[in-house]
Symmetry: C2
């Protein structure tokens, strides 16, 4: 790969990450190209479709999150900790939140394409939390995803909101719950 092409690719990726995070998925590709100081053709050569671009952006964060999940595995409350981490990550990333909420692209597909399967990690943490009785046994992975999307659908301008929602959901997921 030519050096200039490599630079441009990295630049587009960085700009796209920033824009997707702050403005969501609906920003036009033209705008990303403009802010990156390249032509639209350059973007679409490196990332044939908008979804490819989004998947590439996601790839970096996925790696980190996967490692974090692995580090947590085995410790008590790992599922709840990782759940909160994921929600917080998405709360700070509008594009990711939209994708998780179903609007736009398929996060699972992008994650799978990435190779770092955060989905599988969360699933595993869920299963062991259920075995140890930390989480109601009837809950499924899609349930968790939906509840996560719910937390993200709120207006998060007040950071306490997210904590409250995560607390509600976490409490509801426990087989044995406790007072607020």
């Amino acid at each position: 790969m030519r050096a200039d092409a490599q630079r441009n690719r990295a630049r587009v990726l960085a700009v796209a990450a920033e824009i997707f995070a702050s403005e969501g998925l609906s920003v036009p590709v033209h705008e990303i190209a403009r802010r990156a100081g390249v032509g639209t053709g350059t973007v679409s050569r490196h990332f044939p479709t908008k979804e490819d671009l989004f998947a590439a952006v996601l790839l970096e964060r996925m790696k980190e999150l996967s490692e974090q999940a692995d580090a947590l595995t085995g410790s008590p409350g790992a599922f709840f900790t990782f759940f909160a981490t994921l929600v917080r990550e998405a709360a700070a990333n509008r594009g990711l939140a939209e994708a998780l909420g179903g609007a736009g692209f398929d996060v699972e597909a992008a994650a799978a394409q990435a190779g770092y399967d955060v989905t599988a990690r969360l699933n595993a943490l869920l299963a062991s939390a259920q075995e140890s009785g930390e989480v109601r046994p009837d809950i499924t992975y899609p349930d968790v995803k939906a509840l996560m999307a719910g937390c993200l659908s709120a207006d998060l301008s007040d950071p306490a909101t997210l904590d409250r929602l995560v607390a509600v959901v976490s409490g509801g997921l426990r087989g044995t719950a406790r007072d607020s």
Copy 2:
């Protein structure tokens, strides 16, 4: 209003209600007109914008739901019952679910325009449930809306899924929770 115009308006409204419920908000106005057997001009004359059409569709259901809420007021667990009713209503109505999830139109505005303020009802039920200690005191109305959206974002082809999610959220909202 001319008799034929009245008939057409009612017909468009009925068809739109059916289509919005089964296929969501993204269906083109042309398609609604086509299935109603009228021209697009007829639709846009009765309902200047797509959002007006959606608001008119909502109006009918809002009336029913508001009355249900009023009937419940005062009885124990009213908040939880009404919450479940609302979620079930939206689960059977893809357009409403999308609107509640933030994609598309502003439900609150449509409801307010309708005069039947389901929002206010749910808010009142929440407040009295908090006074009686049924619901955590720190919860806000937007929190409830977000959690509702979460329940609806799941794949609901299995009806048990909705029950499970409502149970989790209800349990999480209680000041004092209980086993699954």
